[in-house]
């Protein structure tokens, strides 16, 4: 049951990439990013009101933890630029590859308060396979 749920989440991500990209084609890269974030803000505002999670800020995280929205805007702008040229499948595949590379980087240097995990070589074959798969899709 929950696996179907997982498929749906994945489907939603693909729809999101495509819908946001198309909105950018109709308007502009920045206007669409702005609209997407405003609507998402209203949605999450509703969520915080509906499901208040009473938690005090135990760790007092540094200010940049509150500013990830800057990265969010960058992601949507990049998404909107690439979607038009590459289509959904390839955009999604490359984003995934980027995520894996970044996780590897964060883990092996213990960045962002994450525990340092020695990784590396044993993950190279998997990453290379992903690159080959993406090239195969791009050529077809």
């Amino acid at each position: 049951m929950y696996y179907i749920f997982g498929l749906l989440v994945g489907g939603m991500i693909a729809i999101m990439v495509s819908v946001n990209g198309q909105l950018a084609v109709h308007t502009s890269i920045y206007i669409s990013a702005s609209i997407v974030h405003i609507i998402a803000s209203l949605g999450t505002l509703m969520l915080t009101l509906l499901y208040p999670q009473e938690k005090e800020d135990r760790d007092r995280l540094p200010i940049y933890y509150y500013l990830t929205g800057v990265l969010g805007a960058i992601i949507i702008v990049l998404n909107n630029v690439t979607f038009k040229e590459l289509g959904v499948s390839i955009t999604v595949a490359l984003m995934l590859l980027g995520q894996m590379i970044a996780s590897l980087f964060i883990d092996s240097y213990g960045l962002l308060k994450m525990k340092r995990v020695k990784t590396g070589r044993e993950k190279a074959p998997g990453l290379i396979m992903m690159v080959i798969g993406i090239i195969v899709i791009m050529l077809n």
């Binding site: 498929l7 800057v70 396979m129 798969g133």
Partner: protein
């Protein structure tokens, strides 16, 4: 040119990981929904400022807002749905299946949308998908093995 766009998509993936790692930690501290609210409202502010700075697009952009099909505005709501679903999903099934089922869903729907927009589906694309899937599964398997050992 396609390499430049490919690189940009890759960078987007890198940024996604940094953003979601920070956001997950903030979520643990102040609650997931509140963290998502901070994330989206700061993003909204920045994107709006950028939109205003690129005023030339803005005029024509706003003119076309009325002609845009309504469903194209759903991206922000889908984002919210993804946030809720992920929170509900992640504790329920092992992370390897979460990642893989989300991945399969992305590609199935991605292929359908691409096909709908005129990019033909082919055996070659399916083969590419399978190779990526195996590479991803292999690395997640290694990850899980390592975590259960430590």
């Amino acid at each position: 040119m396609i390499i430049v766009y490919g690189l940009l998509a890759l960078i987007a993936g890198v940024v996604i990981t940094f953003s979601s790692t920070l956001n997950a930690q903030l979520g643990k501290s102040i609650g997931t929904y509140k963290a998502a609210l901070y994330h989206n409202s700061v993003g909204a502010l920045l994107a709006t400022i950028m939109a205003i700075f690129t005023l030339r697009d803005l005029e024509s952009g706003f003119k076309s807002l009325e002609q845009v099909p309504l469903y194209l505005y759903s991206g922000g709501l889908v984002t919210v749905a993804v946030v809720i679903s992920t929170i509900r999903l992640v504790p329920k099934i092992p992370i390897i299946y979460t990642t893989l089922s989300v991945f399969i869903g992305q590609f199935l729907v991605g292929f359908i949308i691409d096909w709908y927009m005129g990019i033909k589906f082919s055996i070659g694309r399916m083969v590419g998908f399978l190779i990526i899937f195996l590479g991803l599964a292999l690395n997640i398997y290694i990850e899980v093995q390592k975590q259960s050992n430590s």
